[in-house]
């Protein structure tokens, strides 16, 4: 430690943790980094990168970066390319000082394929041989020392689940960082066939210099990578055209010769592994049926498995829909209490209102999502960790594929019935960017719980409590119809978008069905908290800013004349009536009327007038227009906004008789009622489809890292909502309703 560059404070060393999916890589990462881990993003793609710190005796504090789980470094898309970029340090990622490869001991030969690829790149490597505690159950035995000799790199047996072997892993990593050259064994498998060698050399000459081809092994490894990865329709933006042409030319020439380059490379590596496997892997013959088999006989049973699936999904849905409710109520009460404290502590005026109505309400509108987000991520964590999520995708593949979605899109879609915000965060469980985008674009169409108060109010106010044939309640049927309608629209939109704007080649479904395991609870909780923190810090700030903006829009400008007039009226009531209930009621009524007038004369109110021509063809008037604007803060705010617009006060809910009465009485200038059942239906259709929820838009913005997707979502749902409401209202009128 004499040169400043070696000092850990000046140049923190970087270690990448790689491995196949389901190898316990995330658990190991959480074990090593503890609470220091942070979620970030890989540049250019919407793939999360988690990084944290680990303290080593000699090397000091080292940064650990989690590489997305992969079976191979071979890539077909920008997201898959992250693995090779992270391991080799291709532009724009930094080259790690060492790689820790997590290997699932129970599936050794397949895991060693990735190990060979990484060894080829000539990066210092330590292998963490995980799940050694499970080998006995499978009748397997691994000689770690023999494996170490064959591969030429350090192999440390661990159990990430039980935290065993982690100290030895830290020591091994420390040693590798201290003398990296000893951890570079040189490639184990090399293309020895002269024809394949010629292919590799030809491709190596076309590799871009930006990939830092400072050593011949690295160059060979990248040439092999290009030979496997590139083709006519790969989606790898960083690969130069000349390189792709060369790969394609070599492949054509080989095919004319009766050879297949890819098969030669892959079979070469597996032949190397299979040949040496007997030296380090012993398998006792005939194993009895495993626990996973017995569980799967139930969970993948054609009838029972589906029943269990429905129960599990019902549980998740129920928790988001009703178990989260008391917690949400608690948060709302707490926010209300804080607001009251602030209102009474600060002198009345603009600043008081800004803090209370803008900032505190804004923070409230962010943290109110926490119960649902935490619950959903808890369930997703448990499903992922236990291995059940792969079965969900398995069972749902046919249905979801028919509408162009991934089997894993089922959980976010279903969560969308509770709230689109956690549902959109849950799309991260899908690997392909295209699948995530498509799911995010349709999740907001699912009937979320915030639409319920609006539907309840309109249905109760405008439709008779009759029963069809004496049994089927009209109101209940309408509610069910809204759910069916929104789901159908979501499925149709998914099918259409998936075949047009968000097109993607159908990828072969090659899911691994990992053995069932008990989740590692600290890891599930750490993961849950990390994702929630990202929501708070990134989407939360946008939601907060929007809430303040909405408040400004609906409260300003303040008309001094209105205030003076109502102050005078209140003073008159105060002097003419004795203190008591009647006086309080009169004053409260005046205050409500004042709030209504203030809202109608605010920027928001003017905007309501301004958009009236746009919503008039749907049967809406400017007051409903203000309600639609208010609903942008959160859909259920429509109810209280209408309460204020009609001068009944903001403390109304969908149950209030006063608001229902008022809605029935609202009339056009010529005396025709504004709200007919047909208008109510058109309004519900509008609410069902329009993504008038700034929190959803804020989360989409954060998840897609662009303004394009939220803008597209807002515009397409708005246009579709308008068209369908128009069709309902005008079509209904033509048929003689309303």
């Amino acid at each position: 430690m004499t040169t400043p560059a070696a000092s850990p404070t000046l140049a923190t060393r970087r270690v990448a943790i790689a491995g196949n999916p389901n190898t316990g890589k995330t658990t190991l990462f959480n074990r090593l980094t503890g609470l220091s881990a942070k979620v970030g993003n890989y540049p250019g793609v919407t793939v999360e990168s988690e990084s944290g710190e680990v303290k080593l005796a000699r090397s000091g504090v080292v940064t650990v970066v989690d590489v997305p789980g992969t079976y191979s470094l071979t890539a077909r898309s920008a997201e898959e390319q992250i693995a090779i970029q992270a391991v080799c340090g291709l532009h724009p990622l930094e080259r790690p000082d060492a790689v820790v490869l997590v290997v699932d001991a129970t599936q050794l030969t397949r895991n060693l394929y990735l190990a060979l690829q990484i060894i080829e790149t000539d990066i210092p490597l330590v292998i963490a041989l995980n799940m050694v505690d499970m080998l006995g159950e499978l009748g397997q035995e691994i000689d770690a020392a023999a494996l170490e000799r064959e591969l030429g790199v350090r192999v440390v047996p661990i159990s990430a689940q039980h935290g065993e072997g982690l100290d030895a892993l830290r020591v091994a990593l420390d040693e590798v960082l201290a003398s990296p050259d000893r951890a570079r064994p040189g490639p184990r498998w090399i293309p020895s066939d002269p024809r394949l060698r010629a292919d590799v050399d030809a491709v190596a000459r076309e590799l871009p210099a930006i990939w830092k081809l400072d050593n011949p092994r690295r160059r060979d490894a990248l040439a092999l990578w290009a030979l496997l990865s590139l083709d006519e329709n790969d989606e790898l933006p960083d690969a130069p055209a000349k390189l792709r042409e060369t790969v394609l030319a070599r492949r054509r020439a080989a095919a004319a010769d009766g050879r297949e380059i890819e098969a030669e490379i892959i079979q070469g590596r597996y032949a190397w592994i299979d040949q040496r496997a007997p030296k380090f892997l012993r398998q006792r013959a005939s194993v009895r049926e495993s626990r996973t088999d017995r569980v799967d006989r139930l969970l993948l049973h054609p009838a029972l498995g589906f029943a269990v699936f429905l129960v599990v999904m019902g549980l998740v849905f129920q928790s988001l829909f009703s178990w989260a409710d008391p917690l949400i109520g608690l948060i709302e009460t707490a926010v209300g209490a804080v607001k009251e404290q602030v209102v009474s502590a600060l002198p009345p005026g603009f600043f008081n209102d800004l803090v209370a109505e803008g900032l505190i309400e804004g923070v409230g509108s962010v943290i109110v999502f926490l119960p649902q987000i935490l619950l959903l991520f808890f369930f997703i964590g448990v499903m992922e960790d236990s291995g059940y999520m792969a079965r969900v995708a398995f069972l749902m593949d046919r249905l979801m594929k028919s509408i162009g979605l991934h089997g894993r899109a089922f959980v976010p879609m279903m969560s969308g019935f509770a709230c689109a915000v956690p549902a959109i965060l849950a799309t991260r469980t899908m690997e392909r960017q295209r699948d995530r985008m498509l799911t995010m674009m349709v999740v907001p169409l699912m009937t979320c719980s915030a639409r319920l108060p609006v539907y309840s109010l309109l249905i109760a106010a405008l439709f008779p409590p009759d029963r069809i044939f004496g049994v089927l309640p009209v109101q209940g049927l309408l509610m069910v119809a809204m759910y069916v309608f929104s789901t159908l629209v979501a499925l149709i939109v998914a099918a259409v978008l998936g075949r047009t704007l968000i097109k993607g080649k159908s990828v072969p479904l090659l899911l691994e069905l990992p053995p069932y395991r008990l989740p590692h609870w600290p890891s599930v909780l750490a993961q849950m908290w990390r994702k929630t923190r990202v929501f708070l810090s990134e989407a939360g700030t946008v939601i907060l800013a929007c809430t303040v903006a909405m408040w400004l829009l609906l409260s300003f400008p303040r008309d001094a004349q209105i205030d003076e007039r109502f102050d005078a009226q209140i003073a008159a009531v105060n002097s003419s009536l004795p203190a008591g209930e009647e006086r309080d009621e009169r004053i409260a009524a005046l205050e409500n009327e004042r709030a209504g007038e203030a809202l109608r004369s605010s920027y928001g109110g003017r905007l309501g007038h301004f958009i009236e021509p746009a919503v008039a063809p749907l049967g809406f008037d400017w007051k409903i227009g203000i309600g639609l604007l208010g609903a942008f803060a959160a859909r259920e705010v429509f109810v209280s906004t209408m309460g204020v617009v009609y001068g009944i006060g903001e403390d109304v809910d969908e149950e209030s008789v006063g608001l229902r009465q008022r809605i029935k009485q609202e009339a056009h200038a010529d005396g025709r009622p504004i709200y007919t059942p047909l208008v109510g239906l058109a309004l519900m259709v509008f609410f069902a489809i329009a993504c008038q929820c700034m929190s959803t838009l804020a989360v989409v913005k954060r998840e897609t890292r662009s303004w394009t997707w939220p803008t597209f979502l807002f515009v397409y749902t708005g246009a579709l909502a308008w068209l369908l409401s128009f069709a309902v209202f005008q079509g209904g009128r033509l048929l003689g309703f309303g």
Partner: protein, 76 residues
């Protein structure tokens, strides 16, 4: 010779060749399904339109339509 989707649940076969498009072939091979590898059909799940197969001690799901491209020699 038959194809993977036609195997009886529980039976094992030796893989002969993989057809279909390049990406699918490469992906299967990288997961260790190579000519000569033993493949066992664990179960068919017709609800999801998928098969569960066991290769190298690992369970994978493959769609019916895609399994049709995998030629196997039964009775191994």
């Amino acid at each position: 010779m038959t194809s993977l989707d036609l195997l009886n649940p529980g039976s094992t076969a030796r893989l002969v060749s993989i057809g279909g498009d390049r990406a699918f072939r490469c992906r299967l091979m990288e997961l260790g399904l190579l000519p000569g590898t033993l493949v066992r059909l664990v179960r068919r799940v017709d609800v999801g339109g998928v098969l569960e197969v066991e290769v190298r001690g690992c369970r994978l799901s493959v769609r019916h339509g895609e399994a049709r491209h995998v030629a196997v020699e039964a009775g191994a």
